[in-house]
């Protein structure tokens, strides 16, 4: 599945939920199922500190593709992290660098990700972008 196809798939999934709370239920589910992030990797250099939730992010470049792992102390944030990872992990830096991340707006998460929210997610996206640029 291409990056765009995966994004379309997520947009479809979200379009089923009319109620906001149902979207959150779904994100909470995703958050609970996010692959565990090793406790010893929760170091300050991997920590993206926001006023609200904290996000830890790590990545590696393997066979020309970027692989992300991340965690948060807030579950909805974790759900969004899980979405991001399912879209971007395993893609080439060039693919990620060329993407505009606009699918997040289409699923209505824009406000959760606006810089004024002062949470770690905004910085997480910045980090994904810059990892892509550095490694392109």
């Amino acid at each position: 599945m291409t990056l765009k196809e995966r994004q379309e798939e997520i947009i479809d999934e979200f379009s089923m939920y009319e109620e906001w709370l149902d979207k959150y239920e779904y994100l909470i589910e995703l958050g609970k199922n996010l692959e565990a992030f090793p406790q010893d990797k929760k170091t300050d250099d991997r920590l993206i500190k926001g006023c609200q939730s904290r996000v830890w992010l790590d990545y590696e470049l393997k066979d020309g593709a970027l692989y992300f792992t991340a965690d948060s102390d807030a579950i909805i944030t974790k759900g969004i992290i899980s979405l991001l990872i399912s879209v971007y992990s395993g893609r080439t830096p060039q693919e990620i660098a060329a993407d505009d991340f606009a699918f997040l707006n289409e699923i209505g998460l824009k406000e959760n990700l606006s810089p004024t929210r002062a949470n770690g997610l905004v910085s997480m996206i910045e980090t994904i972008k810059s990892a892509a640029v550095i490694n392109s």
Binding site: Y24, D73, A74, I75, I76
Partner: protein, 407 residues
């Protein structure tokens, strides 16, 4: 006086969010403004917009009259002795910085000590840290106990002959506990230490009389007491303000200006340099009227019922850890900060938001207090006198629903 009538005076309260009726429970951050305040603001902007004190023309005289009668109204409201003890500022933060800087300039020297309550807002901590760093003075902390009550019994040993001032909020924006300010002032004064009271939360909820409290400074913001944003007050005892140097230099705060020597204006102009918030500051008058209106016996009884209901519900829920628990005769306002076992405050706030409920989450500008309780943040619901029992019940119901989604 009925609550529906009161609510109809606040346009923001009838707004909807995400198609749901807004339930505004972030009043400690900014309280909603009544129509009377908005009208005053518009009137000043459309009928007498001109600079204060500086011109002889009609609208300048009208604006100056509005501004100066506001000073009288605030003086009456706070029970101050002299009108020149009322300094208009842009808010509590500006008032607190003014005291920190000018008081320190006059009275704080190397080796001196300043006491700050553990529950203070950053704006009552950071300005003092900046001054202490410059002057080689140190900060000592007046701690709170596990319930969030100030440990006033420790005060006598924390005070020393080097202590110059103690800074404490009348009501903390996190704990909602009404602190025993009068007792603290009396202990400090007996040891030659001045007291600055941060009244940002207190001024809306308590009957303030600065002469009775005998505090040396009292600071608050307009936007937390129904007035326009960008307005605020510093009360200071005249003899102290007179001994302190000016804060900002500029127009209006001077006596005469020459290249050789400049003299300063007397109080209060000495501390009101530059063009003032001429449209905003006079809204303090209708704001004070609103405070008084909401303090009728009937309204107070209703507010206490709402508070007691919430306190009971939150305290009886084993999943909830409430910060600021009243004990004995200690009073608490309807401001509730808490943590929920195994649940992040941001998740709760996001879900409640989508239910139409505006609450605060995070560190609430009191990081040292978060550290004290070992949490990264809290959820805070702060009620105003215009919030109804139905809103309180809806909040509790929604909170349970949100918690159940998350655990």
């Amino acid at each position: 006086m009925n609550i529906e009538y009161i609510r109809s005076q606040f346009p923001q309260l009838s707004e909807k969010v995400y198609g749901k009726q807004l339930v505004y429970l972030d009043n400690a951050a900014t309280i909603q403004r009544p129509q009377s305040v908005i009208d005053k603001w518009v009137e000043l902007s459309s009928k007498m917009n001109s600079n204060l004190h500086r011109a002889v023309h009609k609208i300048a005289a009208d604006a100056t009259e509005e501004y100066e009668t506001t000073r009288d109204a605030v003086k009456e409201f706070l029970g101050a002795k002299h009108r020149e003890e009322i300094i208009f500022t842009s808010g509590a933060t500006a008032s607190l910085n003014l005291v920190a800087h000018c008081f320190s300039e006059a009275f704080v020297h190397e080796g001196d000590e300043i006491i700050i309550a553990e529950s203070e807002h950053h704006s009552d901590i950071v300005p003092w840290q900046m001054e202490c760093e410059k002057r080689g003075a140190t900060i000592k902390v007046l701690p709170v106990d596990e319930d969030g009550l100030l440990m006033v019994d420790k005060l006598p040993e924390i005070l020393s002959e080097r202590t110059k001032i103690l800074c404490v909020a009348q009501i903390s924006n996190v704990l909602g506990i009404v602190n025993p300010v009068k007792e603290i002032v009396s202990i400090c004064h007996s040891r030659g230490c001045y007291v600055l009271v941060d009244g940002a939360q207190g001024v809306v909820h308590e009957n303030v009389n600065v002469q009775d409290l005998d505090c040396d400074f009292y600071a608050f913001s307009g936007h937390k007491m129904y007035a326009a944003p960008g307005t605020g007050v510093l009360y200071g005892k005249k003899e102290l303000l007179e001994q302190m140097p000016p804060f900002l230099g500029g127009g209006e705060m001077i006596g005469t200006v020459t290249w050789k020597k400049t003299t300063y204006a007397p109080l209060p102009q000495k501390y009101e340099a530059g063009t003032q918030n001429m449209a905003g500051t006079p809204t303090l008058k209708p704001a004070i009227e609103m405070i008084k209106l909401l303090r009728s016996e009937e309204m107070l009884k209703y507010q206490n019922d709402v508070r007691d209901y919430l306190l009971r519900e939150l305290q009886n829920d084993p999943r909830i850890r409430l910060f600021g628990v009243p004990r004995g005769t200690v009073e608490k306002i309807a401001l509730f900060s808490f943590a929920v076992e195994g649940v992040h405050h941001e998740d709760l706030a996001l879900i409640l938001d989508k239910m139409g409920i505006a609450v605060r989450s995070g560190q609430m500008c009191a990081e040292p207090l978060m550290d004290r309780f070992g949490v990264t943040g809290m959820l805070r619901a702060s009620f105003a006198p215009y919030n109804t029992m139905e809103e309180a019940e809806y909040f509790i119901k929604s909170l349970h629903r949100a918690i159940n989604m998350l655990v």
